[in-house]
Symmetry: C7
Subunit: 94 residues, 7 copies
Amino acid sequence: MLRPLGDRIVIELIEAEEKTASGIVLPDSAKEKPQEGKVVAVGTGRVLENGTRVELDVNEGDRIIFSKYSGTEVKYENTEYLILRESDVLAVIG
Amino acid sequence: MLRPLGDRIVIELIEAEEKTASGIVLPDSAKEKPQEGKVVAVGTGRVLENGTRVELDVNEGDRIIFSKYSGTEVKYENTEYLILRESDVLAVIG
Amino acid sequence: MLRPLGDRIVIELIEAEEKTASGIVLPDSAKEKPQEGKVVAVGTGRVLENGTRVELDVNEGDRIIFSKYSGTEVKYENTEYLILRESDVLAVIG
Amino acid sequence: MLRPLGDRIVIELIEAEEKTASGIVLPDSAKEKPQEGKVVAVGTGRVLENGTRVELDVNEGDRIIFSKYSGTEVKYENTEYLILRESDVLAVIG
Amino acid sequence: MLRPLGDRIVIELIEAEEKTASGIVLPDSAKEKPQEGKVVAVGTGRVLENGTRVELDVNEGDRIIFSKYSGTEVKYENTEYLILRESDVLAVIG
Amino acid sequence: MLRPLGDRIVIELIEAEEKTASGIVLPDSAKEKPQEGKVVAVGTGRVLENGTRVELDVNEGDRIIFSKYSGTEVKYENTEYLILRESDVLAVIG
Amino acid sequence: MLRPLGDRIVIELIEAEEKTASGIVLPDSAKEKPQEGKVVAVGTGRVLENGTRVELDVNEGDRIIFSKYSGTEVKYENTEYLILRESDVLAVIG
């Protein structure tokens, strides 16, 4: 299990459709970088200057849209994850 | 539904007129980037260092003017949206 | 009507004289960018980290001098406005 | 009258001597940029994050030395002024 | 012993496998920079503006994933360590 | 007299020896920029966000070492001074 | 004596071994920049926004490891020192 720190979250990417409208399967480099993910773990939140902690606004299981190219890819037990800061999350879907 | 986080809002663009004064229909690249949108969802506001949350000054349904080139375009259920921070909103129209 | 947010203001430009000392009318590109404007709307002020709001120091109707090249031009109902932050206002005239 | 905002001040420049040691009158471009001015108006001070205002340390009539190239030149009723932030003031003379 | 200051931690790197899938031993330059480490010492935490100290979220003995290229390599008693800030730690494993 | 503002101080430079070990007098360009000065005036200190003022840690008469190339040179009544911020002072001598 | 200000410390460098494993004495340019020092003086600490001072975590006599290329070299009474900020100290040894 990956336990993210502070205001970080761990997500699994939700891949965009791999075929074009005309049904052609795209090579990896021609696909748009996915911007959608499913939250698999959330941190305990950042600490304010008055010492209290702000809980995250996203929860485990949420589907989210995030800023392209943000976060860090990590591989853990043969699965690829992306670790983001909550501020990289644009919106929750649902 | 898209639920924006913190001080973010989701808007739909309001396209500028697609004809010039002389009635010529412009190709997409020749049109000015629209700066006007309609708010479809607002976040719960940013958290101050004292732990309180500041509600947004814009509301669902508001027509707004925003800074050119700000925000992130996202496509959700075949509709294009723009996700902005409230600080990218210049003024509310009305 | 345009309602600016936070510490923003909406101004109308006050054009500089369009003739040189010798009476020659200048083409637009040769004129100095105006630095003077009349305030037509003010925001409700920025929110401090303790949660209180700071009212603006400029009021509707004020004539102001502002930093060159600051702000964003917007067109609304066929009138050109400039939306500035209060911090771009150098001084009030009068 | 010019009323500067916040921590800004309005000054009139005090020109450096326009002759060299050998008595030659210098053309404008060869003169050193003056760094000395007389304060003609001061703002009401900046607002701290706790909501109180900090009065300026310089007063109308003070002669000051300021950082070269700081501030914005404005012309008002045929007089040239410089609008500075208090933080651009290095020292008060006298 | 190394005692890190503030929000710093000392880690030992956990090397990635040195063979490729086909069993070929890789030269150093061809290996991916490891992103995994074991915490051997933690600082006492950073001091907030209200004077209190925030204890670290990672503990001695934790296995962590950290941002590539972050931290400073130091050699102490013939062992190589990496000194990171807690903010460079992406997640704790386990 | 020069009265520096806030956390600024006015110093007179203490020139490094102008001869090399072998007694050769160096031209100006070959000398090291001096890093030592004598404090001739200090400001009243910077204002914290809670409104209180922090008195300076250096006093009139102190000999100090400061960061190379920091500060602004000013000439006043035919004497050259350097105006620094207290944060440019590395250490007090003595 | 050098009295460092605020969160600064004065250290003496502890030179790395000047011979290679094979006993060859290295010229200065081929040696690694030392990262180890002994603290000879510490400042009184930085002032927080609430006006209190944070004492340093390092003490006179401590042996420390610091970030390469940080700090400022000063020569005082024919000894070379390095003046660092506490934040440049990575760890205390011992």
